[in-house]
Amino acid sequence: MWHLGKVIALHDETATTRTITLEVPGWPGHIAGQHVDVRLTAADGYSAARSYSIASAPNVDGRIELTIERLPDGEVSPYLTQELTVGDPLELRGPLGGWFVWRTNQTEAIQLIAGGSGIVPLMAMIRSRALAGNTAPFRLLYSVREPAAVFYRDELQALSRQDSAESVTYAYTRAAPKNWPRPPGRIDAALIESAAWPSSLGPTCYVCGQTSFVESAAGLLIASGHSPDKIRTERFGPTGDRK
């Protein structure tokens, strides 16, 4: 299960978030939505491991991308986003998780709801759809603190411009751009009503972010008529270390 990857490229998505491209010999391939466990080992044998969603679409070139947000009191993320450099090895276990996945043979409408770094596995799904030429209608509702915190903005914009079956709605919770039609605030029933697929369409919904966000967003979907059977969730831990 453990693979030894090599860092071949680094790209900063925001001031605190970095995408790492890894070449992984023997990588068995993955399905969009899956994650890996990354393990770091100090010289004295001390080790720490964390789970990260795979950001890249399934492909055949033996490379994967991880997008990692630096947490203020994190133990692993500061190392991965600031110390790890091109050429370094990185141990990873995976791909893991077969429930929170989107397969390229799915044809139903898809509703994606991302809270902060929860966008990562959903981006893998969006990228997977594009690479496979899948035409299922996709909507993304992306909740984020402020414009500077958005990951993959240019790519999302290009994809939705090219593809009328795909659209993105941003929900800014702390600070919105000037003249933004909606004042800053968390996702609420009104936004689900206006921006998400209606439940009558029977979409499969994928919700990802911190636990509190996921519980809230999934609750809103259910309240607006979506069946719990059609909602898949992935919860990330709370931001920062617990003090």
Partner: protein, 97 residues
């Protein structure tokens, strides 16, 4: 800021640890809580991973479903909180034909 009510993640996060023991993906298995009878995908379980081991609790009644502890020379598994775990093997049968 801390949200005490949300100090869990979900069954997806245990995939790596469970893969030490199970050859099939436990996160997609359906499981029944031995306490309240709720049947859900293991991916939906409330997972507490900050303690000495992995503790999965029923999303409905919060009773312990499963515990896994990894220590230097062994992995210990307690499944006593589940009546069953059910794995779909239909895809494997096709391959065997």
């Amino acid at each position: 800021m801390s949200s005490h009510a949300y100090d869990y993640v979900d069954g997806n996060a245990a995939a790596g640890e469970l893969a030490k023991i199970f050859t099939m993906d436990v996160t997609v298995a359906a499981g029944q809580c031995a306490n309240c009878g709720a049947t859900r995908r293991f991916a939906e379980a409330h997972l507490y991973m900050q303690c000495p081991g992995v503790v999965a609790r029923c999303a409905d009644c919060e009773q312990v479903l499963l515990r896994l502890v990894s220590i230097p020379d062994r992995v210990l598994l307690d499944l006593s909180g589940m009546t069953y775990l059910s794995f779909d093997t239909s895809q494997f049968q096709e391959n065997n034909q």
